[in-house]
Amino acid sequence: MSRIEFKDVRHAYPSAAGQAPVYALKEISQVWEDGGAYALLGPSGCGKTTLLNIISGLLTPSEGSILFDDREVTQLPTTERHIAQVFQFPVVYDTMSVFDNLAFPLRNRGMPEPRVRERVTEIAAMLDLSDRLNQRAAGLTADGKQKISLGRGLVREDVNAILFDEPLTVIDPHLKWQLRSKLKELHQQIGVTMIYVTHDQVEALTFADQVVVMHDGAVVQVGNPIDLFNKPRHTFVGYFIGSPGMNVLPCKLENGQPVFANNLLSSGYPVDTDISGKLEIGIRPEFVSFCDDGIPVEIEKVEDLGRYQVVTVKHEAEQIKMLVGEDQSIPSISPQIQFDPASLRLYCDDWAVETPDA
């Protein structure tokens, strides 16, 4: 096991001769602490799989270096990095038994048979596969097969990290949570560094202690679930985390305070009046409410989602989404809304205006 460090890593896939390189991964310096549970979260095409492949050695970055416990591994091939990887689709040998599938990575490395037996039994118990060890893998359901893939990732004791690339994609939604809870439990039991790539916020936030949010080839925020919700550092994080995402609205400054729709929004930001750039406020739908004396709006749409209603309102050209309780009535005559000042964020050119730990 080891601590993994990225130093100024950048990667561009080959581009046509004479053209400037396009970076799939912009400059990243990031430490993955030994034994941590990390998630790489972002939409498809954000660079998260590129990053994962750089860790495993499937890809050598065009710039920068990768260290495992201060040892440079940038040029080392996958086989010498001792990384286990679990993919989106189950990789199992259908003709082998569950036992032989789990034993495969160990026997490959010449582990003595009694120790193989011990280890496979242990991992099978963790994954609730003990009673199926003699069964052929072919007869298992998709989630059963994916459990074997997970087991094969977990069975080796000599790995530096285990990488998961969207491992629950093929699992029926009703079974996903069981595998999620299993993975979390396993991380607590075996304490190996785990890096989990997903575009699903629930998977990322449930599994990881630290979530690395990626956007357009760059890391835009690293944080725990509470910070990502309450203090998005970038408008993309506000949009991507939470459903519906954060409202981002244009604003201007008056006497150092943000103003939207002629309403002074006391935000308590220590705003530098010299600030220049595209200024916006971010407010989550959770923190917008109806009131008697606020911003006048028109109601565009009310969606009944059972546990709450999503109300889309409009002030001039700006669309604002708000969450309203399931039993709460929607005002029909001249509705007005307000923003909870404590939950308001100010952004300049998409980045939060503040010191990161404020």
Partner: protein, 354 residues
């Protein structure tokens, strides 16, 4: 188009895929088939399209019988979960393909392709090939091809399942709008209850080859006629427990009890079941207090879904905000008993909420 299924069933070998089903879908209506994998959504759609011949029963379209009429001879379009496009055709040619097959004049084809490309935000990508597009753009291309035909019946089989959830959010918002003006009857299959609620319209809950209930989406959600219906239309799963009713009191256990609505109080004493939606079970608040042993806390961006064992039942609490728990932690949960759905011994709803 009015689509009517009269006692339609589908058997394949010894297996029954669809049990006798009668269903009537109105023109311009957005209909959702909601159920888990293998509940029969796709089979039902294939029957509607004419891709599958029913083992019994009849199908009617606009008052004319169409049982056994091949799909090519009917005004039907279908979009699947996997993005199906012609890989060597540009987006433009992909969208144009059904019109070319129909032999429309070039000028008319061009106008239609541009109209639907615009509607689906594909105008800047018309010259690209499918593999140069993102997943969302590929699926929008497939949708445009289905829409451009102007089919009377459009069948969408989990069309958003392979997309990132943020893209799903956007397309879910756009889809009902796209069809609103076409007058087409839309049938949309999904395994996600939240998706059904977001799309609105009408929902048929499906389970193991049977239509459990059909009606307005919000009615089907709030007033499931059976426990099965409540189960199908709840994610996270609806919390279920057996209770003992004596007089006007319900007992979940010797120590947990509450007063029941008058209608249930008047019914014979004995065993009943309750269904409680996860968002009505909260770690803070008032009402009936129960002890829960936490299994896992799952976090979506703004909500926590906590799996707990309550009096031997596997329950789920869904609350706003981010709550962390340790595995095995014991903690109190609360619910307002007026939120309970009550079911009799046959798992039929006892309507106590109006």
């Amino acid at each position: 188009m009015t689509i009517e299924l009269r006692n339609v069933s589908l058997r394949v070998g010894a297996e029954t895929h669809i049990y006798e089903t009668s269903l009537s879908l109105q023109p311009g209506q957005f209909n959702i088939l909601l159920g888990t994998t293998l509940s029969g959504k796709t089979s039902l759609m294939r029957l509607m399209a004419g891709l599958e011949k029913p083992s019994s029963g009849r199908l009617w379209a606009n008052g004319a019988e169409v049982t056994g009429v091949a799909v090519q001879k009917r005004s039907v379009a279908m979009v699947y979960q996997a993005f199906i496009n012609y890989p060597s055709f540009s987006v433009y040619d992909n969208i144009a393909s059904p019109l070319k097959v129909a032999g429309l004049p070039k000028k008319e084809i061009d106008a239609k392709v541009r109209e639907f490309a615009n509607l689906l935000k594909l105008t800047p990508m018309l010259e690209r090939l499918p593999n140069e597009l993102s997943g969302g753009q590929q699926q929008r291309t497939a949708l445009a091809r289905a829409l451009v035909k102007g089919a009377d019946l459009v069948l969408l089989d989990e069309p958003l399942a392979n997309l990132d959830y943020k893209l799903r959010e956007e397309l879910r918002d756009e889809l009902p709008k796209m069809f609103a003006d076409t007058g087409a009857t839309v049938v949309y299959a999904t395994s996600e209850p939240l998706e059904a609620l977001l799309l609105g319209g009408y929902t048929a809950t499906l389970n193991e080859g049977r239509v459990v209930q059909f009606g307005k989406t919000s009615t089907i959600y709030r007033h499931p006629e059976t426990l099965e219906g409540a189960r199908v239309f709840s994610d996270p799963p609806v919390n279920i427990a057996a209770i003992e009713k004596r007089g006007d009191t319900a007992y979940l256990s010797a120590s947990v009890s509450w007063n029941v609505p008058a209608k249930l109080a008047a019914m014979p004493d004995g065993k009943y079941k309750i269904g409680l939606r996860p968002h009505h079970l909260s770690p803070n608040g008032a009402g009936v207090e129960v002890d829960g042993e936490v299994q896992i806390a799952e976090i979506s961006g703004s909500e926590s879904i906590v799996r707990v064992i309550v009096e031997g039942n596997n329950w789920v609490s869904e609350t706003h905000g981010i709550h962390s728990y340790e595995f095995g932690q014991s903690t109190s949960f609360f619910f307002d008993s007026s939120r309970c759905l009550y079911f009799d011994a046959n798992e039929m709803l006892i309507e106590t909420q109006l």
